[in-house]
Symmetry: C2
Subunit: 639 residues, 2 copies
Amino acid sequence: MAAPTTPTTAPTSTEQLHNLAQQLRIDSIRASTAAGSGHPTSSMSAADLMAVLMSKYLRYDFDDPQNPMNDHLIFSKGHASPLLYSMFKAAGAISDAELLTFRKFGSRLQGHPTPAIPWVDVATGSLGQGLPIGVGIALAGKYLDKLPYRIWVLLGDSEMAEGSIWEAFDHAGHYALGKLIGILDMNRLGQRGETDLGWNSAAYAERAHAFGWHTLEIDGHDLAAVDQAFAEAEKESEHSGQPTLIVARTMKGRGVSFLENKEGWHGKTLDEEQARQAIQELGGEHQITVQVQKPGSAPAGWSQPHNHPKLELPTYKAGDKVATRKAYGDTLAALGAWPDVVALDGEVSNSTYSDEFQKVMPDRFFEMYIAEQQMVAAAVGFSVRHYIPFASTFAAFLSRAYDFIRMGAISRANLRLCGSHAGVSIGEDGPSQMALEDLAMMRAVCGSTVLYPSDPNQTAQLVVAMAGQDGISFLRTTREKTTVLYPPEEKFTIGGSKVVRQSDKDQVTVVAAGITLHEAIKACDTLQGEGIAVRLIDAYSVKPIDSRTLHEAAQATQGRLVVVEDHWPQGGLGEAVLEGFVNAPASAGNGEGGGGPMALQMTHLAVQGMPTSGKPEELLDAAGISAGHIASAVRALIK
Amino acid sequence: MAAPTTPTTAPTSTEQLHNLAQQLRIDSIRASTAAGSGHPTSSMSAADLMAVLMSKYLRYDFDDPQNPMNDHLIFSKGHASPLLYSMFKAAGAISDAELLTFRKFGSRLQGHPTPAIPWVDVATGSLGQGLPIGVGIALAGKYLDKLPYRIWVLLGDSEMAEGSIWEAFDHAGHYALGKLIGILDMNRLGQRGETDLGWNSAAYAERAHAFGWHTLEIDGHDLAAVDQAFAEAEKESEHSGQPTLIVARTMKGRGVSFLENKEGWHGKTLDEEQARQAIQELGGEHQITVQVQKPGSAPAGWSQPHNHPKLELPTYKAGDKVATRKAYGDTLAALGAWPDVVALDGEVSNSTYSDEFQKVMPDRFFEMYIAEQQMVAAAVGFSVRHYIPFASTFAAFLSRAYDFIRMGAISRANLRLCGSHAGVSIGEDGPSQMALEDLAMMRAVCGSTVLYPSDPNQTAQLVVAMAGQDGISFLRTTREKTTVLYPPEEKFTIGGSKVVRQSDKDQVTVVAAGITLHEAIKACDTLQGEGIAVRLIDAYSVKPIDSRTLHEAAQATQGRLVVVEDHWPQGGLGEAVLEGFVNAPASAGNGEGGGGPMALQMTHLAVQGMPTSGKPEELLDAAGISAGHIASAVRALIK
């Protein structure tokens, strides 16, 4: 941490606050001008609000960002990053020199905030996400941590058009999250002109009020009014179960004649001469350092429980029929023995079976209703507070939260997602309920883990593995009951696979996972009757895929491969297998040093056309991924 | 169409309406019991509402579903499909025998409504989508068609938790869509228990009112009250610019003692004996057929313009530097000459350059603010009304609308989506703004087209091709200005590719698209200096991919391939190329009849770790996809 250049106590007089606000504006301009890009005017509108907040209300120990008593400050309008970084400088957390590395390669002060910075909880920059994540942190604070930290969320007015914001308003009202305080920087101007509601402060307040919030409308540049509003919000947060929204009327580019309330300045920086003039208009550079109030101590004896006793996992008997979604729920319930495991539901807990967790651990089960964006955002919030969140819904509906999942990876969140009702095998409900793109979507997340078990005992092992897995992991479960294939004591690990059938005479390798493994087993039985030996691989770990085992099998079967999946042909198991051959270890025979490239002759069976309703077996067959089609594909490869 | 069994005129007495409502309930039970699945109780709660609507208010010609004057009826709560299909029977549009094919393989009466049925505009079943699509149809009706059709949307109460619903409330209020009438079937019970707001009718009304709607609260089983509410809504729709929400307090399973307002009956069907008893309680079967009111004639001379005059496309000079996003905007503006082309923006039109269209065709440009779900839903609505919608935002933010895009494919919507700011090459803004999963996401959409041009003249050709393309097409554009490579007269078609460098001595094939093509050209120049000849392919059509050209190139270069993309390794260009080899035509050398499988030796360069901020060239290099890395990969393959 940089040494403060001019240490002061927290400014409290209006003049001191004004000087600090001007410094935040000036530094926002300096940083963005040095970078040649960024959003100075969107920073300037909120500078008065943030000057007062950091001087008098925020409780945060910059020397100890993991202090559980710290308030949380989220810039939901992440493009105001110059303001946030200028606050870090004013708090003495970074030096002026570091401030001027803004947006440069190698700097942690990126274009939008990310947790590469220790005082940033989550990445923002995709609008409409900070508030729903704040809801998650507030849920953790109120119901699990039971600590008095506040969650301050700086909102832009453009992002009030995002539905996810209203999911957050809804849930914050419903769960009476009094410690959540939204600060709406209503500067009227979006990127390309006026926002939907402009300066209609009353409309924002009416909406928030209708969702159960306490609301205040103020002039966001009147420092006394800002001070009073925060005081009121703070008081509310101490006794009331109502979250507070402060609607602050502000001006973009405030304080500089040629920027203030002017169109055409969004995401534009000032050149050197413009910056000089602006700084002059703002009263010239200050070097104020604010001693941000540290939070009090946690209650005596408080600690966040992280003990992980040995689990009693559910077991399933060979030959029984059990859906993997049921095994997910059973295992989640068993994981309830770990006090930091949390479950979130999108109003389908009796379909995903996360209600099994609710039955045993109702206090750590959070009903997020049909609001998948909020569900994933809340999981991010729980991850910020070091819990182990499992969030589940139909896999098809996780597509609703894809932007949140994508951003979750940038936030370095540890999320466990489970999507049930995968593929055409769900049957009668029809295509709207069938996940056929979930593997593609989840594979294309940085650092993700993608699992697709075929058996309940296997599912149990993988769910436990997910609990210990960093980053974003996804489990795809099947609606239908399927035969138990593996004994409870068999081990399944992330990155592994299971060779289900194997002999010296194997002619073709079949790769399947989940429901198609059961079809493939039937196909192998049929082919065995015809004297055709098949190597069958259960590729339950779709990412990372077990390249080595695939490669060995392909070598043993002269490169003949059938991959079968209940998913569109794009981005799922088939392409994961192909990518596995591209990236196979050289010693396994690919590339130099391994005897040259392998000639693959692969048939890829996947869902090509739009499915309809019908019985699962009818739809598997119509999609060309049933046992009969697998057997035909094998025969065709050796004809 | 089936002959009505007991033709009647529209029932208007309370008793007649009651009998019709009971018939709709009974038929919902019969159909779902015959299917063994479905949602009878969610149908029964809304039966009184729909009985009155179809008897007295709906204007619809079942013999002419394409009549432009028809009202639109959308079941946003798509799981109430038994009710919708029972209405079709009561309207004489389907026979009782067909009703009983519900959810059976081959029947058009699928588990959730789809446009396989001629009287269904769009697929529903993913909650929270019907209302925003209704907004799109209402925008078309008010601003383009200028016809008096109404859009009736039946909403479930669980789906009021979806943020997309509030995006719709916001936009309907903002655009003063008086012809949009929401009917909220507030039956209190979601899938797994009580909803967020239960029977708190006032809370729903207050929220809708805050978003600019006219609201009514009624008992949804009081036929007189329902009648009066529709009459008022209809009157409002005639003169007011306010959309109307009717909040109807109802009971799930209404009318049957063991179902009414009971938990545990969501998505459950009655067995034969239960069905018998329920039908008895509901007064026994009726065979009422309703003559649904036909709409009036369109104003004399009205026709929807579909003339497509020859376009004056923008052209770009070889050697100039122009961003493909700019070429998108320029071409969209040129397409404005077609009167059915519509553009939608997510508040970033000056970044995507869709503002070029706005400048020339302001009346067909719709600002959807930062509400990507609503933007795509509105595009679906315009597609329903036979317009050619182009919707654009940052490609990263299209991930916000993935569920709407997925459902759009089931809706058979013709959508053109453009995502700008692809990949790490955007530079300083950082990872939140970088689309690195968009190709994976868009490829995994049924029937989709995915294009990624590298040149502005090529972009112009492809944008025009998209306008004529059915289904969902996606164009990925680049933020940075890049060198014009191709002359304006060169033709580029969907499914094609361009061989950029070629000789008899080519040792390696490099496949690139968009920004990486420019890096690859630099790499080829370097390698040429070293005496290494490379075949370079511009794979601008990522889906469908040009398998034949790829295969020929691979054959010519002994299977040595480098694929380079500004995207995660999963689901993008690299995997599209691999899949292209799996599915290559046999005559091109793959599989039997073509000389056996080809041994590929492929190096896949893609973005592996989380990017940061920096200059585009720094980030391309850090990601391992710059010219230097391409050249190294080529050298390694021939070492």
